[in-house]
Symmetry: C2
Subunit: 444 residues, 2 copies
């Protein structure tokens, strides 16, 4: 490379009267020779276009990322103790530049050594619990993770960060929201959409935000920490039961659905966004409820779906079914006898909507009313993914069907948002129609 | 009611120096005696709060909505001929005020008589094809609807409007996008989130927008016409293969995903939003390809999903499976043998993402690459719902598996958006980082 620099060197880049310093990192698969990529002190990777006037200077020797033991707790005794639990995923992976493959090779400890400013935020311990792609995690892993967190809480941790693949992070965050009851401290899930050694990686900034929230947020809830927008500015904290991955690749892929995010981390501060929250309180005693019934299925309905699909799950011994119906919570009339048979055989069948946003309301149309009459449980504005996890959890807590249904209908961890609290017909004024003219958008 | 007015009367309401005229309609289920609801000339229903200074005057006799035959074509010979095909749904339903139930009782003809300004836009013929809740429509109905539209096109229609329940309107619009090839005129699906006799109904405004688009839009494509926002101002036209119902109840529930909407209707004009479109051309000869294979299933993956679910569909004789995987297109490793078995048995298995937004990319992680190696077809940025419909359609066109896969991978009706056409590493500048500093968001 020009000016004798090598990957890993600390370099200074001068361009257009601005100067940038950072560690030179691989340009990875971009195959672009017009940019260089450096990791600046904040942990962010930035790409800089090389023009004829750009000057590049080597100012420090190669410091390839490698395991560096975290500073011992005695170094900064005033900081809160945070444990980073690694489960795998992009945030814990690197590209193998010879094959182009992504390997889950980097541990939380490695991450810590790469993002040194974490030591200004918290005293950090790191644990590798799993090294799995998140689609390979199962309810048994949720249970194991909850158990581990229980031990760290008992050991005096003041905040927990869980690094996790983004694919199923929403499901695991929901599971832990139900499994970790009466939490004294925050449990913050964090992932990355781009691996740490790519120019556009969100790993470092997400991790810094997550550790900040775990160390000092005023709430004690399970949240997911990811980019608020595509810029690195703010990390938003989503409630574990209301969050969903809504884009395959963008850094702001995670969205809170049917609610407000809990908080965000901006300029190193945690700013609360939710008006009500479960406050941090170290005296509180965590209650572990981490059993999940795996014989629960999610069925997304589609036009012409055969009722045989429901029948075969009943025959296979499933204990519960979450239907992801259309609109306000519908499946075709042809499926109604199969649903009734499932309920008669003792399964719990509950309804969510494939619309994602909004709330089921099965009292409006005939198919919905008939499903309600059979005993299908309408799950309000709960996400289908959260509903699946919750039914697994409810059936893990009790073998009594009525009790499990009652748990399912109870707002355990913020998974059900209250209906907009408005007097009936309180209008949403439509600007174009003048004073006193209103259209009610809050009801059908 | 005060001032001797009755439901159906033409009334004048004077309040705060403003005057409103319209037909008094039932206040429906709101149970509110502080507002009255009138249908104003534009077809919109508005609610007016009654205050002590509000004056209500009866200015015309009761004119209960009833069937009024459309003006004969000789009346306004210059207008384009549009056929409104009714299939059912909220747009074609009314609330029964004794029971509170919604009945699919109103025909396109009735709607026409209630929204008289349609006669200024087009010469309208109305046909009742089905009276079904949209969740009860199946691929056979798609086929029948396509056949009917073929006949209307042959008969000289210059635009088609299909009134449809909103629940599965996206699926049907996708199906017709594939079934109606080489379209000479627009086919505009339209629904309503609130039935026509409710104060906040979107039926009239959506229908006016749909008829306007059918009569005079410059494109010849299958689109869905619904509210752009919650206000009545603009009706947006979504491409049939890229549209999804994303809210259970809002009037702006429909969103174009991974693309720009085709056009919108604003102030009575059709404004194009897409840069490329299939232009209207009456000389073009419609090609009907309206066979669908019903033995195709959509499987939404979730953590711990048993491979038995895939196996049982293979055993039940399914011909194709659409997987709605996580993230970039993944299912757990445990499912891989079942997927391989399905492909070995001759099924087509294709991958979409439950993220909804974004594009699958199965070359990044090991599970994805192994699925590709087995022959799973990655479906780019296609919606899972559209992918299901398209696989049903592809298997309806040919019994040859390779040909069907090739159809599935070809962009037939705008269902695959091109990758953002950008040179590699063309930056999306991050404002906070200064000149020449960029983060590439377009690639992983």
């Amino acid at each position: 490379m020009e000016s004798g620099t090598e990957i890993g060197d600390l370099i200074r880049v001068a361009k257009d009267r601005l100067t940038y310093e950072g560690i030179l990192i691989p340009r990875s698969e971009y195959g672009d020779d017009k940019h260089i990529v450096i990791k600046i002190k904040s942990g962010y990777n930035i790409g800089i276009e090389i023009t004829p006037t750009t000057r590049i200077e080597r100012i420090g020797a190669k410091t390839k990322p490698a395991f560096v033991p975290p500073p011992s707790p005695s170094q900064k005794p005033g900081l809160p103790e945070v444990i980073i639990v690694s489960t795998g995923g992009t945030i814990a992976s690197r590209v193998d530049y010879r094959t182009g493959a992504v390997r889950p090779a980097i541990s939380a400890s490695d991450l810590y050594s790469i993002v040194p400013e974490l030591s200004d935020i918290a005293l950090i311990d790191t644990v590798i619990l799993f090294s799995l792609f998140s689609e390979d995690l199962t309810p048994r892993h949720w249970s194991e993770l909850a158990g581990a967190i229980g031990r760290y809480v008992a050991g005096g941790a003041e905040g927990i960060v869980v690094t996790h693949g983004t694919d199923t992070m929403g499901y695991t965050a929901a599971a832990l929201s139900f499994a970790l009851q009466n939490l004294p401290i925050p449990v913050v899930f964090v992932g990355a959409q781009r691996s740490e050694d790519r120019p556009s990686s969100d790993a470092a900034s997400n991790l810094v935000g997550a550790v900040k929230a775990a160390a000092s947020a005023p709430f004690a809830e399970v949240v997911v920490a990811m980019h608020e927008t595509i810029s690195d500015e703010a990390i938003v904290l989503h409630k574990g039961t209301k969050v969903r991955k809504c884009h395959t690749s963008r850094r702001d892929a995670f969205k809170t659905v049917n609610a407000s995010p809990v908080a965000k981390v901006l300029n190193g501060e945690v700013i609360m966004l939710a008006s009500k929250f479960h406050p941090r309180d170290l005296r509180r005693k965590l209650v572990l409820k981490h059993d999940f019934e795996e014989k629960v299925a999610l069925i997304k309905f589609y036009p012409g779906m055969s009722p045989e699909i429901i029948k075969s799950l009943v025959e296979a011994g499933y204990k519960g079914l979450i239907l992801e119906g259309t609109g306000l919570g519908h499946v075709r009339r042809e499926c109604l006898p199969a649903v009734k048979n499932a309920i008669d055989k003792g399964l719990i069948v509950a309804m969510t909507s494939q619309c994602i946003w909004g709330r089921v309301n099965m009292n409006v149309y005939a198919n919905g009313r008939d499903l309600i009459a059979m005993g299908v449980v309408p799950l309000q504005d709960m996400l289908a993914e959260t509903a699946l996890v919750k039914l697994m959890w409810a059936l893990g807590q009790t073998k009594d069907k009525d009790e499990a249904v009652s748990l399912l209908e109870t707002n355990v961890a913020g998974e059900i948002s209250p209906r907009t609290v408005e007097p009936v017909q309180t209008p949403e004024t439509v600007a174009t129609e003048g004073r006193g003219i209103s259209v009610d958008e809050s009801r059908l």
